[in-house]
């Protein structure tokens, strides 16, 4: 009996189904489960000839699945590799083992994906794009569309194939010491960048003054932009230490804005333009 192999075309199909459909039919109940099953279906159909077998193997992927879906493509790749191994009679691989790996990787991968891809990489690209768009030029938008999609698709495809090739061995690569060191260092870079972004894009000033001395000048004399920095830190503190949701923090900022204006602490000093072109 010759060894069964998943064809390149089928792996491709599985990857693009995940790429497109990971969150298409998202619900709070099963989250990414349907996207996962849709992606595994071509592989299962190629490896197992009878409908009964296919139904049985698809059952493996019924349980709940949710992670940061872009980095999560590695998990789909891993299970594609495991499924191939199982079809060739590897008795160690059963439903329990596959779902153990899936459940074990969901959390760590969501953490990496949220902080590095969504929390650091995308804001950096958007930051560069914002700079290029200064004055209303679409240059930055083209930059973002091309660079983000090209690098992201390349990355997802690469880790999918890597996951497929490594199978169960991929787990150590993802949660091992080296990967942890790399991740922590990248997060450190993220911390510096968030500071620079806050300084560049948030601008909170006060109009408060006593006897001709403006508070804003005094504050900036001590540490330029310190009021802005304190507000960012306040928002962070409320969310991380006080466990407030982002929506609640937004509502609190609205309250602070209203109270601050009434007390004379904030005054944007804006006016409508004179030339009405209705």
């Amino acid at each position: 009996m010759s060894e069964k192999r998943v064809s390149k075309a089928t792996l491709n199909k599985s990857f693009w189904r995940w790429f497109y459909g990971n969150l298409t039919c998202f619900t709070q109940e099963h989250m990414q489960t349907f996207g996962y099953m849709w992606s595994m279906l071509p592989i299962i159909q190629e490896l197992y000839p009878t409908v009964e077998e296919q139904a049985e193997k698809l059952h493996t992927y019924y349980p709940f699945f949710n992670t940061e879906p872009q980095i999560g493509s590695i998990v789909v790749g891993i299970t594609a590799g495991l499924e191939e191994s199982r079809a060739n009679g590897n008795a160690e691989i059963d439903d329990e083992m596959i779902n153990g790996i899936r459940a074990g990787l969901m959390g760590p991968l969501a953490g990496i994906g949220d902080s590095l891809i969504v929390g650091t990489y995308i804001p950096i690209l958007l930051g560069i794009a914002l700079g290029l768009c200064d004055g209303g030029s679409p240059l930055g938008i083209f930059f973002y569309i091309i660079v983000w999609n090209a690098t992201s698709i390349w990355f997802q495809k690469t880790i999918y194939n890597r996951g497929y090739a490594l199978g169960g061995n991929a787990v150590e690569v993802i949660v091992g010491d080296r990967a942890t060191a790399l991740r922590e260092s990248a997060v450190l870079l993220g911390q510096v960048i968030v500071g620079a972004m806050a300084a560049s894009w948030v601008n909170i000033t006060t109009s408060f003054n006593v006897a001709g001395v403006t508070l804003q000048d005094k504050l900036d004399g001590a540490f330029p932009g310190v009021l802005t920095m304190l507000f960012v830190l306040l928002c962070w503190w409320l969310m991380s230490k006080k466990k407030m949701s982002a929506v609640k923090v937004m509502l609190l900022m609205i309250v602070i804005a209203f109270v601050g204006v009434l007390l004379g602490f904030f005054d944007p000093g804006l006016s409508y333009g004179e030339d009405l072109n209705i």
């Binding site: 969150l23 998202f26 958007l126 010491d177 993220g190 500071g195 909170i204 204006v261």
Partner: protein
């Protein structure tokens, strides 16, 4: 200026393609490309006939939502509403009030309006996730009968029905009728009134929330904040651009990585060095 039915319908279609994590064009292309206000402004600009103006309006909105992380499928604000309701209405408002689009007043209006319509997006996000339960229910029932083809339907055209009801129609109606209401702003909402001042202040405070969300995703212990303060100081006090600050941060990240590797090496007796090319 008002938004015609055709323009409003096109904005509705864009909101479906760009809907947040349940995007009709998938996560990477839909949610993380078309959904971002800055990118959306190009398409809104093409629909409204003023690309430059819409980009200018969108820049302050993008800054507020620069870091929208949605941990575990919980969203603070789905940007489809900010992008495809907020930008066109802010643009129409600025035009009808005779504001220069790159003025501080225009930024204030854009920021404040974006913050308010963001909540519409949150409702749309959870609404779509609820409606999708119907399609998944059909999917489970058919899977019991070994009808695997149902997965393709559940993953492709069925959720689009949710989107038509929850994204397309509301976005179209709000744009159409909202753009007719903006003319009354100037009389109803004078800029030197305390409530308009408060609204603009909201627009300047909300970016701090976005940065707070971002900070929360990269900070695990209080000492990490020192790197944040460092980044803030080099950009504000020393005037470095974001890219220059990234280069300096990368030096520290690299040093940190080398130090971690060294300590791994001593612990594992050089075992880590053996698989040097193993990266993710």
């Amino acid at each position: 200026m008002t938004i015609s039915w055709v323009q409003a319908a096109l904005l509705g279609v864009m909101s479906v393609l760009a809907a947040s994590t349940i995007a009709a064009l998938g996560t990477t292309v839909g949610n993380y490309t078309l959904n971002r206000p800055l990118i959306a402004s190009l398409f809104v600009g093409l629909i409204m006939g003023d690309v430059k103006g819409c980009i200018q309006v969108a820049i302050p909105m993008q800054i507020i939502y620069i870091a929208l992380v949605t941990p575990g499928g919980t969203v603070a604000a789905d940007l489809r509403a900010v992008s495809y309701i907020g930008i066109p209405l802010a643009y129409a408002t600025c035009k009808s009030q005779g504001l220069e689009l790159d003025s501080e007043a225009a930024s204030g209006i854009a920021g404040a309006l974006g913050a308010f319509v963001g909540t519409v997006g949150t409702v749309q996000f959870y609404g779509t996730a609820m409606a999708n339960l119907i399609w998944q229910h059909i999917g489970w029932a058919e899977l019991d009968k070994n009808n695997f083809k149902i997965l393709t339907s559940v993953e492709t055209w069925m959720p689009v029905i949710s989107h038509i009801a929850i994204s397309f129609i509301p976005v179209m109606l709000i744009n159409r009728y909202g753009s007719q209401a903006v003319y009354t702003f100037r009389e109803a909402l004078p800029m030197d009134s305390w409530y308009m001042k408060a609204l603009f202040t909201v627009g300047s405070l909300l970016p701090a929330v976005g940065m707070g969300i971002l900070l929360n995703s990269v900070v695990t212990k209080p000492t990490d904040l020192i790197y944040f303060v460092f980044g803030f100081a080099i950009a504000k006090s020393m005037g470095l651009t974001l890219i220059a600050a990234t280069a300096i941060g990368a030096v520290f990240a690299l040093i940190n990585f080398q130090m971690k590797l060294n300590s791994l090496g001593t612990k594992a007796g050089g075992a880590a060095a053996a698989d040097d090319e193993e990266d993710i």
